[in-house]
């Protein structure tokens, strides 16, 4: 028999009124919604390869970035698009945007206003980055780009001819790019870029996807898919890595700020799990039904 005072505590914990749990969760999440704390975060084994790939880009190299998401999944995917675009430009590389989603051009517009023009005012569309636009057809678009970029795109979304775009000089087909990034909320998206882009042409593919979609893509990691950002957590890890490696840039950490209340809630629930089990294991005798108001 253990110390009676400890048993008393365990017993009280075991019969804890659920409303205390509710109150703790409400206060913890509420306070963190107001204070918006930023927790230190680090890239996981899935995120680190994406970051390192982009970190190794040479100035002047072009990267294909496919914006395969719509407003519905933007809360999860958009922070990834913002962070990766900033990183590519910070390395002096040249992002070439395409989209397989009809809503993609609207997503690019938000990216242009909030990242390209605000954070990099000295850069110019067409010279320092390229938007090729939306093409319907999903995997057929990728197949065509693998053969010949010009077969799919005559020019960029603003009407400049392909030959006049500095970002595509020397990039005639998909295999010429050092990296393809697909930010994907479903089909067509990351899976199509892996199966019809990366696998046949050998170009390295990395990507980002929603939290719910993540497990599906893990089957391709790490051989066919070199790295992946899964949901808000993945985006937050990437932002943290970017801030860590390029401390002077001072970019906002959008996913990191939303992760604050999320993390607090998770820690609170984890704490409940631990407390519940401590109470359960320390209780003398058989389990009694918990108190119900």
């Amino acid at each position: 028999m253990s110390d009676p005072s400890r048993t008393g505590l365990a017993e009280r914990l075991g019969r804890l009124d659920r409303r205390w749990l509710y109150l703790v969760l409400l206060v913890a999440v509420g306070v963190s919604v107001v204070l918006r704390p930023l927790f230190p975060d680090q890239p996981s084994v899935f995120v680190r390869p994406v970051f390192e790939r982009i970190e190794r880009l040479e100035p002047g190299q072009s990267v294909l970035v496919s914006l395969d998401y719509s407003p519905v999944s933007a809360p999860e995917i958009e922070p990834m698009a913002f962070a990766i675009t900033r990183h590519v430009l910070l390395r002096g590389a040249h992002p070439v945007f395409v989209t397989l989603f009809p809503e993609g051009p609207a997503m690019y517009e938000r990216l242009r206003v909030e990242v390209l023009e605000r954070d990099f005012p000295e850069l110019v569309a067409g010279r320092d980055w390229t938007m090729l636009g939306y093409k319907a057809g999903g995997r057929m678009v990728i197949n065509a780009m693998r053969q010949e970029m010009a077969a799919m795109f005559a020019g960029d979304a603003e009407g400049r001819r392909l030959g006049d775009l500095p970002g595509l000089r020397g990039y005639r087909r998909l295999g010429d790019f050092p990296l393809v990034v697909s930010l994907s909320s479903g089909t067509p998206g990351l899976k199509e870029w892996i199966l019809y882009g990366g696998d046949p042409s050998g170009v390295p593919v990395v990507g980002g996807c929603t939290g719910i979609g993540t497990p599906e893509y893990l089957a391709y990691f790490p051989s066919q898919l070199q790295g992946i950002l899964g949901g808000l957590k993945g985006a937050s890890e990437y932002e943290a890595a970017l801030a860590d490696r390029h401390p002077g840039a001072g970019f906002p950490r959008r996913a990191g700020r939303v992760m604050g209340p999320q993390t607090v809630a998770h820690v609170v629930i984890l704490l409940f799990l631990v407390l519940g089990n401590v109470a359960y294991l320390r209780r003398p005798g058989r389990r009694q039904p918990e108190e119900r108001p």
């Binding site: 409400l26 107001v34 918006r36 939290g211 719910i212 051989s223 066919q224 949901g231 957590k233 809630a265």
Partner: protein, 225 residues
């Protein structure tokens, strides 16, 4: 603090619903009864205008299409919609005890359509497709370069064996079940792993709903965040 009337209403309703966490109380009762009335009415209105009107009324009386769209071309008349309407009327006979047995016909029709529509779809997408997904990669997974990917191969082995074990868990006949005791038990444990993991994984999306509600209360309403 917000000056918008709508924000105040929404905030009041939000607090009323949250009050249920404390205990059942008159505020929750009010919100609950309002919710039932509003949502039941809303769905019936939608059902009328989006299903009954275009698919039954307009098909029986094409001129009715002009009521909602004066410039519309008149669709063809489809007298067969009499069938579901007649079945619907039979259902109302429930209210008249002597003809109540006729009210079984529409239910019989509904059950028949459900079984008929679902069987083939289920066999294709839940049965054959899942077996295909398990069998098709084989047991040895290779990298695009052709070398054996040992991690993926191990994972695929776990998936094939795990699926078989879990299926064995569902066995009903007692003798057969005993014969595969350990395997079925492994299947149950694997199911528990799957349930625990997906429960925890879903916590994040449930919490984000709470966060957005609190952002509304603390930000839009009180102006704190």
């Amino acid at each position: 603090m917000s000056t918008s009337f709508e924000v105040w209403i929404a905030a009041a309703l939000t607090l009323m619903v949250f009050s249920f966490l404390w205990r059942d109380n008159p505020f929750y009762k009010f919100a609950e009864h309002l919710f039932v009335g509003v949502s039941a009415g809303y769905w019936m209105v939608l059902g009328f205008w989006s299903t009954l009107w275009p698919n039954a009324v307009v098909k029986l009386v094409p001129e009715a299409a002009r009521v909602t769209e004066p410039a519309a071309a008149l669709p063809d008349r489809d007298p067969l919609v009499i069938i579901p309407l007649a079945l619907g009327l039979l259902m109302l006979l429930r209210l008249w005890p002597r003809a109540a047995w006729l009210a079984r016909w529409p239910t019989a029709f509904a059950v028949g359509t459900t079984l008929g529509y679902n069987l083939v779809r289920t066999v294709r997408s839940d049965f054959l497709a899942q077996i295909h997904a398990t069998v098709a990669p084989g047991l040895v997974i290779r990298t695009p370069a052709g070398a054996i990917d040992w991690i993926a191969t191990g994972n695929q082995g776990v998936i094939v064996a795990g699926t078989a074990c879990c299926l064995a868990y569902f066995t009903y006949t007692r003798t057969a079940r005993r014969a595969r005791g350990g395997v079925a038990r492994a299947g149950l444990l694997l199911l528990m792993v799957a349930f625990g993991a997906s429960f925890a994984y879903a916590v994040m999306s449930r919490v984000s709903l709470l966060i957005s509600r609190l952002q509304f209360l603390l930000g839009d309403w009180l102006g704190l965040a």
